[in-house]
Subunit: 397 residues, 2 copies
């Protein structure tokens, strides 16, 4: 028996072990892609003997001008892979700077993923491959050999929304084995996102672990809720099952989320060892999450000492009638008079929301409401939002 | 400003908002695939005007015979998609039974994922799309509107392996808000797997939530460790960064994992409210994890009252010299004499490990060691391992 088993098991690696595992092994191409070289150039490879043309695209290539209904705008560049005699296509990039990059292949006009790279990120309904070039700020995106916090997907009861809802919670290293109380950052996603967005696309756990290990941020709990009130959870994780995610979800930005946000704060403060006061609460969000942050923080004007607007979608639609959107200036004045420690606004120079943020800052200036302002390169991208988190978190508590 | 913002934001859904989000929206094809019809047939669609041929493959199609180095064996079937005038290719399946299915497209010979379905599962180095046909046992794989447990990715210190290691832990609904102590199931993955395998491919959280809600399983903690001792975490989640996962990892099945398994038990029992006795400990695993289960449970012969071997790789290599693999019969006799409540062996009729399991059962018979035996259809597949979990968990505690 031993011999028989030995033979079978050693063959595993070559011929597979059954329908699915076997398929998993057969399907894998025996090549490495991407290969990051010592000088931080990267070679991408693909075995596709029958293809006529293969290109690679995304944010590690210089941008190009593309036409859109809003006029000419920046789009992701493309580069050609070259076919070798063995049917393996290759492209070697220029030397790349530190960053977490996305890419896709375009095979005879068909955009798809790299079958040799199982590391993927979903953004709304699209999935792309990722890779990291280390160094600089990108070191914060890596899982380094340091103490790690825990990441929990948990469900909380929202009486206001009438459902149990999924929420992602980062607790810092040591949380479980102490009696200490911690401050809390509420971190909100943008349109098309959900409770998975910050933890996957935003690298929140890696960023917080690294900042805390380096002594640059105080240990804190980071709460990442789902801002789409009709969902109990991210697409594929909730009772709606599998369906194609959409960018704009019904009842988005109609005031319901903001009006029920205290369900989340109450859940956190009655389930975690937290310092439950204004001085130890921060709220920040990107795009739609910046919109939520701005409205939540002034609607509950004595709740958060730290507010972060990352590429924020500032103002509601003119037809938005929810109470939370009324008397914006008056409630901002309340917030200002109640006092806060940091009101932080960041946006990229080419962000389509740049003008809206400039106008909002002018309004704050006129009111005499103090804020800090960071103007970065680039636009409305996760690349910027990750950096904003690395800059905002060290300012807290 | 409001008007400007309104315009910009409403356009978001149509033209994208920047390099990455824009790309995420542009890339998405505006079609639905897969579409599960009322009668549980499924239509798959793909927009690929330039393709010459498109096939679909995987485990929802009847198997076909394929040649392999081990001789003829079952392989996944294939079916042709048909091109419509609009460049959209389609295939409609027969009526499918309840199951979680995998599939891939083959475009002009190139195997890839469905760009209209962002729900993917990684198995070793390969990524495939998934969909669920409900009903029967597949209802247990869905996220239903019932109380949900929490799933935590956490790091534990393994003094024996000299590193912090990532571990996935399911705590049942209500765990956080009670003072009750819970029993623990240690659930081990197979070769090529890691601490993500059971929670993603195995649907452990959904299965346990559903079994507990139906009163079919007792509330329990499920601990899913990483059985590859050279890894601190799953590929892409640890300090080794992104690399192409392999089926057989160095130092696999050399005794190191088994000899250090108590690091995990100690961590769990000192960090969770558990009933820390034999009557409240279960261990089970699939394939290599069945091998680990068999050896761990007899090496620590008075530790587990419940043992589950799912398609187990039974015996060590003949050259395996680790102490844990010595005196197998003697330690099994110890385990038998110490007593246990359930020794559960399950395997599929076409599993390549079928004969090895038959021989092992003969050895147990000769020793007079009692076990329960389940012989299922099919082979060495996650489809079977999910079902085994739904059958084993209700038998515990």
């Amino acid at each position: 028996m031993k011999k028989h088993f030995l033979l079978s098991f050693l063959l595993l690696g070559f011929v597979g072990v059954g329908l699915q595992a076997q398929e998993a092994l057969f399907r894998a191409q025996q090549i490495i892609s991407p290969e990051v070289h010592q000088d931080n150039s990267v070679t991408f490879r693909l075995l596709a003997p029958n293809a006529q043309s293969i290109q690679i695209t995304d944010d590690f290539l210089p941008t190009v001008k593309i036409e859109s209904p809003m006029g000419q705008m920046d789009g992701p560049g493309r580069a050609d892979l070259v076919k070798g005699e063995n049917g393996i296509w290759e492209f070697k990039s220029q030397i790349l700077g530190p960053e977490l990059y996305n890419y896709s292949f375009i095979i005879d006009g068909f955009t798809t993923t790299d079958p040799n790279n199982p590391f993927l990120i979903r953004d709304v309904a699209s999935v792309t491959n990722i890779f990291i070039i280390g160094g600089g700020h990108a070191e914060l995106y890596k899982t380094n050999d340091i103490p790690h916090g825990s990441v929990t997907r948990r469900w909380y009861d929202s009486p206001g929304l009438g459902m149990d809802r999924r929420i992602t919670i980062y607790t810092p290293p040591g949380y479980e084995n102490s009696t200490e109380k911690y401050p809390v950052l509420y971190l909100l996603h943008g349109a098309g996102g959900d409770e998975e967005a910050w933890i996957s696309l935003g690298r929140t756990a890696q960023i917080m672990d690294n900042l805390i290990a380096q002594g640059k941020a105080n240990p804190m709990i980071v709460v990442m809720p789902n801002g789409n009130v009709i969902q109990d959870a991210a697409p594929g994780e909730g009772s709606m099952g599998y369906y194609k995610p959409q960018f704009m979800v019904p009842k988005t930005m109609d005031g319901t989320y903001e009006a029920n946000f205290m369900d989340i704060v109450k859940f956190v403060e009655s389930n975690y060892r937290v310092k439950a006061d204004k001085a130890n609460r921060a709220i920040a969000g990107l795009s739609m999450g910046g919109f939520h942050t701005m409205h939540i923080s002034r609607y509950y004007p004595n709740t958060f000492d730290y507010v972060g607007l990352f590429s924020a979608a500032i103002m509601p639609r003119e037809d938005a009638t929810a109470k939370v959107y009324s008397d914006i200036e008056g409630t901002l004045k309340n917030q200002m008079n109640n006092g806060f420690k940091l009101y932080w606004i960041a946006i990229g120079k080419t962000d389509f929301l740049f003008d809206a943020n400039t106008a909002y800052r002018k309004m704050l200036d006129n009111m005499g409401m103090k804020y800090e302002y960071v103007e970065s390169e680039g636009g409305h991208t996760w690349r910027n939002w990750r950096v904003y988190l690395t800059e905002f978190a060290p300012r807290l508590f």
